[in-house]
């Protein structure tokens, strides 16, 4: 068994999601190599080489991969897939973007968002927004898999002594061009990596009221999230969304404020270690998963909580 992990990175550094994917690959067994596709990505490649348990690092470093456009990156990955039994990536926005292209290029199925490994061919994954867990068996010789990061504990960033090997070839499909990006600049930790997350739901009533969560988030060094209902209502941008169609988080502490607890949302946060729910409706389903529930009007509870922290 030999697995190729496609790194999640920003050229300079390796993103923590890669470490969860490596953990999944190690569970599968055999050699684990990491492929870094980027431009000027020595930083990320060197970081990958020191990840615990990694055998080799392949670096496809070329200007055409600068913004990791799926059309180009998928060709580079498919190129390197030969000799591997499995190609794996974290199920991030990036991984979800290019991995199915890799699978189609290799003419195999993709097993998306796995949360468990039964054996080399059999995997567990959530379906129907997490209402059901499915065990699926792949008959493909070569597997293409994306990994739900919260289901696998990250491996250590240090301890590995892999050598970085440059791979040749620049694939430019010539059908897409990066125009620009608008990355939310925030001093807060990233939602999927934060150890504390404070999320607001429809109960926040409007976007301005999300500022009430900021004071609490500041004190706890927390990321701010939201339910799909709050995103749908236009209170906050979609990159705040926690849930089956948004981000999957599993912090040490998750504070759900004015969130009823639709299964869609629970699917994105129920693996958090401690869940706190603040909601004025005592019958809200969120209380069924909360370790600590506070039945209260959030508009009085939030200032009180901020003051008490």
């Amino acid at each position: 068994m030999k697995t190729l992990i496609v790194a999640e990175h920003d050229n300079e550094s390796l993103k923590p999601a890669t470490l969860n994917a490596v953990a999944a690959a190690q569970q599968l067994g055999g050699d684990v190599d990491i492929l870094v596709v980027g431009s000027g990505c020595q930083g990320a490649a060197e970081a990958a080489a020191s990840v615990a348990g990694v055998a080799a690092v392949l670096s496809a470093d070329n200007a055409v991969y600068e913004h990791q456009l799926a059309e180009n990156v998928s060709l580079a990955i498919a190129d390197q897939a030969e000799g591997y039994d499995c190609v794996m990536a974290a199920a991030t926005a990036n991984g979800k973007n290019f991995m199915p292209r890799v699978a189609a290029l290799l003419d195999v199925a993709q097993i998306s968002d796995i949360t468990g490994i039964i054996d080399a061919d059999t995997f567990e994954r959530p379906i129907y927004a997490g209402n059901v867990m499915a065990t699926v068996k792949s008959s493909d010789v070569k597997k293409v898999i994306t990994v739900r990061t919260t289901a696998f504990d990250a491996v250590a960033t240090e301890g590995g002594t892999a050598v970085v090997q440059q791979v040749d070839g620049a694939h430019d499909a010539g059908v897409s061009r990066f125009v620009g990006e608008e990355v939310a600049v925030s001093d807060r930790p990233e939602l999927t990596a934060a150890s504390v997350v404070v999320s607001g739901g429809r109960g926040m009533q409007n976007g301005d009221n999300f500022s009430m969560l900021e004071g609490i988030a500041d004190k706890l060094n927390a990321a701010i999230g939201a339910s799909r209902a709050a995103v749908d209502a236009g209170f906050v941008p979609n990159d705040y969304q926690v849930g089956q169609t948004g981000k999957i988080v599993a912090p040490d502490l998750y504070i759900a404020v004015g969130i009823s607890g639709a299964i869609q949302h629970l699917a994105g946060m129920k693996d958090s270690k401690v869940i706190v729910a603040i909601n004025k409706d005592e019958d809200a389903p969120i209380f069924q998963v909360a370790d600590y529930g506070l039945v209260a009007d959030l508009f009085s509870a939030l200032p009180e909580l901020e003051a008490a922290l």
Binding site: A93, R101, D107, V179, V183, D239, I263, A290, Y292
Partner: protein, 249 residues
């Protein structure tokens, strides 16, 4: 400009789906079915392009057994011009759906193909990207804004941490995210009109595709339950519990 939209018949999003007691599959008997919500957004986007004069024709395709014609009719009632049904039994996998859609594209030569980013049953999030690889087209996945230019389309994409804008050469593929638009409701007159709109049926062999299965469903089970904890009486008690019992702050 011709727009092709792919739609999938799925369990209505209001239905709480459960595993059968023998764990063989999910319970789908007598369950309300509907267009996958992300596919509905795709139909809406295409119809808006037509209303804006950018698109001249909106063709809607669905792959599945005969019952998915219902969802094609729904899309026609929302404003699509004609339907294509590719008959496939069972649950065709994303790769096979992508191959069949490639066949539809070969026959129709659309300039823009819009799909939902994922279906709410399998939650695979694959078909659009696979179709991109098979056709060699560019893709704008998880789109929150689509603007068609001269021979190109600009797509604003929802990515981790913000938004990314890409420009694709037409023909191209777009997959929809939630905030792209808010789909309309079909009016009764439009539902009646939709019944008369053309709908063609093809078999996979008509499109030169041999449908295969790569993945089998072994079993299903309910997710691990998380048990409810306690209710606290006050913010003060909550903070105390978090500090001294859970030790997370």
């Amino acid at each position: 400009m011709k727009v092709l939209v792919a739609v999938k018949r799925v369990v209505d999003y209001n239905v709480k789906v459960r595993a059968k007691s023998d764990g063989s599959d999910v319970e789908l008997n007598n369950v309300k079915m509907a267009i996958n919500p992300f596919c509905e957004i795709a139909v809406e986007e295409a119809v808006r392009l037509k209303e804006a004069g950018t698109a001249t024709e909106v063709v809607v395709a669905s792959i599945g057994d005969k019952s998915c014609q219902e969802q094609i009719r729904t899309a026609l009632a929302l404003g699509a011009d004609r339907g294509i049904h590719v008959e496939a039994e069972g649950r065709p996998e994303p790769l096979e759906v992508a191959k069949l859609l490639k066949g539809v594209i070969a026959a129709e030569s659309p300039d823009l193909i819009i799909l939902g980013k994922q279906s709410i049953d399998g939650d695979n999030n694959q078909t659009g990207q696979m179709l991109g690889a098979l056709t060699g087209m560019g893709q704008g996945t998880f789109a929150s804004e689509v603007s068609v230019g001269d021979g190109t389309v600009q797509v604003i994409r929802e990515v981790d941490g913000g938004l990314q804008t890409v420009e694709l050469t037409l023909p191209a593929i777009v997959t929809t995210d939630l905030r792209l638009n808010e789909p309309r409701y079909a009016s009764l007159p439009n539902i009646m009109k939709a019944k008369k709109k053309p709908l063609e049926t093809f078999s996979p062999s008509d499109l030169g595709v041999d449908v295969q299965s790569h993945v089998t469903l072994v079993s299903v089970k309910p997710p691990a339950e998380r048990s409810a904890g306690i209710k606290v009486e006050s913010v003060e008690q909550l903070v105390d519990k978090l500090k001294n019992e859970a030790k997370v702050i």
